[in-house]
Symmetry: C2
Subunit: 306 residues, 2 copies
């Protein structure tokens, strides 16, 4: 069997904010035979993730752990697909989840695992603690905020439209982030779920309580502008005994099924809202990706392939 495979590639390394022009749609034939030992899959949903930008740079720490994206070549991404033909009979088809298939690239995929592991394992929340989530409009942040509410925490978020959080603000409207956080957290921050970096991390650390924890999930402000690094107060880190820990979703692979079962129950019980932001068609991947860095998405960004 031979099919035409269309894919997105970067034309060149992308070191600043991405734009649609950095990408191109390419095409190549794919051959499949019963003897190939391979699976032929038609992609239905593709996950659009900000961390992919780091794989597109000339140099980045990400490339040691998750690999580089080579200009002109296929970009590896998470997705959901339909098996058209398979030479791997040991794999069984599981089509019984009862959830929309798109959930498997978001809340039931790596976004949910990242949010669950990052919040419950890295942050070790206690009921009543004060939680600040940056980039809560994103796929991970929107879940972390909701998980924190379920854990009995007080949650303030960077999402303007609140998802049942205690408060929220738009950081683009705040002239002084340090004072803004002090206003929203008069009793200080116990847990900061970090997606943004830069001056947001500085402001959060200055407002943290003793034994505060920072889960460093990403630093989207620093992805597009490497000169915009956070210069956190180390004296806060020492005297307030703050712990910062970076993590990747891959760290929680062994707990994937355990976390997923809990998240599935929460969705069924209506305890968390799943927010998706869907674009249509392979050609929309570049614009969907570029829009992430302008903060235009609300919820999990994904592309539906018709």
């Amino acid at each position: 069997m031979e099919v035409e495979n269309r894919y997105i590639a970067v034309r060149h390394h992308v070191d600043g904010p991405p734009s649609e022009d950095d990408f191109e749609v390419k095409s190549a034939p794919v051959h499949w035979t019963a003897e190939s030992g391979e699976v032929l899959v038609r992609n239905m949903y593709v996950s659009i993730d900000p961390g992919q930008l780091n794989r597109m740079k000339r140099h980045s720490a990400s490339q040691q752990s998750v690999g580089a994206i080579v200009p002109g070549e296929r970009i590896v991404a998470h997705g959901v697909g339909e098996v058209l033909a398979s030479a791997c009979l040991e794999y069984e088809v599981d089509a019984s989840s009862g959830f929309p298939l798109s959930y498997h690239v978001g809340v039931l995929g790596m976004s949910g695992t990242t949010a669950y592991g990052g919040f419950f394992e890295v942050c070790q929340p206690q009921s009543g603690e004060k939680v600040f989530v940056s980039a809560a409009s994103g796929s991970v942040g929107s879940l972390v905020g909701q998980f924190a509410k379920l854990a009995g925490c007080y949650v303030v978020d960077l999402l303007k439209g609140k998802l049942g959080f205690d408060d929220a603000f738009n950081y683009k409207e705040e002239l002084d982030l340090k004072s803004a956080l002090n206003k929203y957290f008069p009793d200080g921050i116990d847990i900061y779920f970090e997606n943004v970096g830069g001056e947001m991390l500085e402001a959060a650390l200055a407002n943290m309580n003793t034994y505060g924890r920072v889960a460093v999930c990403g630093a989207i402000a620093e992805y597009t502008d490497p000169g915009r690094r956070a210069a956190p107060g180390l004296m806060d880190v020492v005297y307030k005994r703050i712990a910062l820990r970076g993590f990747l979703s891959y760290d929680f692979m062994t707990q994937f099924h355990e976390y997923n079962a809990i998240i599935r129950n929460w969705i069924r019980e209506g305890r968390i809202q799943v927010i998706e932001d869907v674009s249509n068609g392979l050609e929309s991947v570049p614009s969907a990706f570029a829009a992430l860095f302008r903060g235009e998405n609300v919820g999990k960004k994904l592309v539906k392939l018709p």
Copy 2:
């Protein structure tokens, strides 16, 4: 009983590097009676600690946890003294340690506890791991490096004269700290015991391995120049899953006797060297303190009171 008590005070808040002129010797009478419920102590050794500088500043995160030093008033510091008179009969005298009394303000006091807890508890070292200690000439760093050798680690240190470490360098002679660390740690750093801050932290993070740990004990470069903040690469923190944790010696008070017993054995067995840098007389406190920030001490800095 009435005695004249001489003490050191700061004349004013100290926000930059300290100099001898910032201090004054003062004097006030102390009254002791059997009914006072108090203990009258003659100080014999006083600990000289860089962290005290943060208590002298106009504002500092340290003052929430360890209190401010008020200009003109007595400075609280750790010391060893002889009880001249006591109205607290429930306290027994323990003069049987068999070690020099000065050890109790250093290796058998808070310096030893900080080094032991900071290294073994915060860093969780494994044999064979690569350890970098900054400010190893200091009271804590000189112990951490020796503890790391006992734990079977490979140790590089900022101390020029090696204490049995695998390598050492003088950071003042290195133009590019990031390249210098790469040269000393071709296989990367697993544990960084942070005393310095600023560009040293940046260089260490850039050279760390996956799952690296940073114990943030102090940031002496930032104590004297608040504008000299570290701007670490958050992408290193995320993708290499680095954990940074601030701590204070006070966090290990419940383990004080346990740690002390181990350290005493190591000293008796000759497995660690105790390095002291002693000045004489109360009047030498200001110069001893100011010299800490010029990196002039080697080992635990203390003042002997005749």
